[in-house]
């Protein structure tokens, strides 16, 4: 039988069969990475666009538009505070329409992308705000178009904090992915609940937790290193 260090410290440990659990765990890791990466890519890109629109339409900025800004601002404020587990349930009808099913890993990705888009947009906006208006004015004075300024000045100037923001998002998305189990999705969260919590096996629960901690550490360390290299201020 497989034993781990936890068996000696966790009193409620039961004898789960790791020969069965191992492939399940591997599958869960793959599912988690799948959900998280797809969400980060889709939600991250859409969130970047929405964040740039939020920033750009703020009063005094390149595309100043009070109405658009207010509407988007309120929309983001409405969606963001909804607990994801409730959002998951509330989105079900739309998920069925878009994905074709409301259960399983794929079905979880859709609401995750939506939530991630809104979360990203706010983070992007907040990290663009500190960019010095002076450099934008300088680029305008050289004849750069507004879109060129966003692409070649605004985002490059804010790149380091944006990368840190995406690392922060990774954690949020990982958190969301843990709730996929509620709608029949897989992943580490589901693994921890189904095979750990519900079977009173702390070892299983903590194995999932530790893998998630390691994932977060690796991503955060990577982001820190990139941001440090990029930051020229």
């Amino acid at each position: 039988m497989h034993t781990t260090a936890f068996d000696h410290t966790v009193t409620l440990a039961s004898r789960s069969d790791w020969s069965v659990l191992k492939p399940l765990l591997a599958q869960s890791v793959v599912q988690t990475l799948q959900m998280v990466l797809i969400t980060i890519v889709i939600g991250g890109v859409l969130g970047l666009v929405l964040g740039v629109i939020l920033y750009g339409t703020r009063p005094g900025n390149l595309f100043e538009n009070r109405v658009v800004y207010r509407v988007l601002d309120i929309l983001v404020n409405i969606v963001r505070p909804i607990p994801f587990i409730i959002f998951l349930a509330a989105m079900q009808p739309l998920t069925v329409k878009v994905v074709g099913t409301s259960i399983g890993t794929t079905a979880a990705i859709f609401p995750m992308c939506i939530m991630c888009t809104f979360a990203t947009s706010r983070l992007v906006e907040q990290n663009l705000v500190p960019v010095d208006h002076g450099v934008i004015e300088a680029a305008r004075s050289m004849g750069a178009s507004k879109f060129t300024i966003i692409r070649t000045v605004l985002i490059p100037e804010a790149l380091a904090p944006l990368i840190l923001a995406y690392a922060f998002l990774f954690i949020g998305v990982l958190d969301m992915s843990a709730m996929a189990g509620y709608i029949g999705g897989g992943g580490l969260g589901n693994f921890a609940i189904a095979y750990g919590y519900q079977k009173f096996d702390q070892t299983v629960t903590w194995t999932a937790v530790i893998i998630m901690i390691v994932l977060v550490q690796v991503v955060q360390a990577l982001a820190n290193a990139i941001a440090k290299r990029l930051l020229r201020r």
Binding site: V135, A138, R140, M142, G143, S145, E157, R232, R233
Partner: protein, 415 residues
């Protein structure tokens, strides 16, 4: 400096209003300004913060649009052009800033190449141009550094190189030296002078520092509360300021005129006859060649020698404006009182003087200034046109209320 007489920038009754956020009223930042800047000028625009000068200059490259009136730059009415059509015009107008506004995430070379990229230059041409510009501003060895690794003066030189990249005809300098120490300021001003003289680029220089205008500009406009209150050649404005705001600015650049406290101190130390003589190297003439204000203090050494007067130079300051001397000096004359009187009579014929009397027979400061002898000028209308020495001295005292100039408009402009 004024090689071409063609106006390159023309403001015609330009008004710019901003709506004050929250309150339902408008603030007039630029109030009916008409101004023409000639090709080859180094044109200074001076005023306190909030006077509207930043807004005015931003209408030249259409970063701001006038509420009414037109701004014509190199023959284009930039006040009514779309962003797309403005692009080629903007590429012919470089701009430098108080805070340099360099791209912090790009190297020095990348900063300078940015406008060339916008203009779709071929990469090898870009590299050659960047190298050329780095050499022109004396930063060849810093090409691969980031702005944060440079000093303020170096940053501004990168800003200048970047602004010159696309061979502009006009360079706008928005308080370009205000964040620099005096020594670096001089360096940057010398570079701007080279830009003007060697490359023939017209420079529009906004500043609140009169000595900046004095050092390099040939023409100046003084702005106050959105209006241009005075303009002309820098020497004329310096030597014969008409508006109180202009006098205040000039007082900050010149320290030749003693204030009452200074006179009191001097009187304690030097008991002889204290006399301030205004120095103006040449006459100030109007457009018709008529003398508005004559030269002053040009024959003082000869007269001292001729009358055999014993003199001591106590206080003063002489500056050059457009290479012409201007200022004031204060002497103590000692010896036979009758001889001194005769000497002063002679001196007063060709100079503006203020006689403060001796320690034993002092003349009260205000009385002395009021009584000041103004050299016999063909000077016409007394009231507002010709400044008197009393005005000149007065302006020293005025410096204190500079801050109260326009408290309402003092904000907003640059946010």
């Amino acid at each position: 400096m004024t090689q071409g007489n063609e106006p390159i920038i023309v403001f015609d009754h330009v008004v710019k209003e901003f709506t004050v956020r929250g309150a339902k009223k408008t603030m007039r930042a630029v109030d009916d300004v008409s101004l023409s800047i000639d090709e080859g000028d180094i044109f200074g625009i001076i005023g306190y913060s909030g006077a509207g000068k930043s807004t005015l200059v931003r209408m030249i490259n259409a970063l701001e649009q006038p509420t009414s009136g037109t701004v014509t730059v190199m023959g284009n009415d930039v006040s009514h052009m779309g962003e797309g059509r403005l692009r080629p015009v903007r590429q012919k107008i470089g701009m430098i800033f108080q805070q340099f506004n360099l791209f912090s995430q790009k190297t020095v070379a990348q900063n300078i190449a940015y406008p060339l990229k916008l203009d779709h230059w071929r990469k090898d041409y870009q590299d050659r141009r960047v190298k050329e510009l780095l050499e022109f501003v004396g930063l060849a060895e810093h090409a691969d550094k980031y702005p944060s690794q440079l000093s303020g003066g170096q940053k501004q030189r990168v800003g200048i190189a970047r602004a010159l990249a696309t061979n502009p005809k006009i360079l706008l300098a928005d308080e370009a030296t205000s964040a620099l120490d005096p020594e670096t300021t001089t360096e940057v001003l010398q570079l701007l002078e080279r830009v003007n003289k060697q490359l023939g680029i017209t420079i529009v220089l906004i500043t609140h520092q009169m000595n900046v205008v004095q050092q390099i500009a040939n023409r100046v406009a003084v702005m106050s509360s959105g209006k241009v209150v005075e303009q002309g050649s820098v020497y004329d404005v310096f030597a014969a300021p008409k508006q109180p705001v202009t006098k205040r600015f000039i007082a900050t650049a010149m320290d030749g005129l003693p204030d009452p406290a200074r006179i009191a101190v001097m009187r304690e130390q030097w008991p002889g006859r204290l006399v301030t003589v205004v120095i103006r190297q040449r006459d100030i003439v109007d457009a018709n060649g008529d003398v508005l204000v004559p030269a002053s203090g040009q024959d003082i050494s000869d007269l001292i020698a001729a009358h055999g007067i014993h003199s001591g130079l106590l206080y003063g300051g002489i500056d050059t404006v457009q290479d012409i001397a201007i200022g004031a000096v204060t002497y103590e004359f000692t010896g036979d009182p009758a001889k001194i009187d005769a000497f002063l009579d002679d001196l007063a014929r060709g100079s503006d003087i203020v006689d403060f009397g001796t320690k034993d027979a002092p003349i009260d400061y205000d009385t002395a200034v009021a009584r000041a002898h103004i050299a016999d000028a063909p000077a016409p209308q007394g009231a507002q046109g010709t400044p008197t020495l009393a005005d000149d001295l007065e302006m020293v005292e005025d410096v204190d209320d500079v801050v109260e100039m326009n408290p309402d408009t003092a904000r907003k402009e640059r946010d």
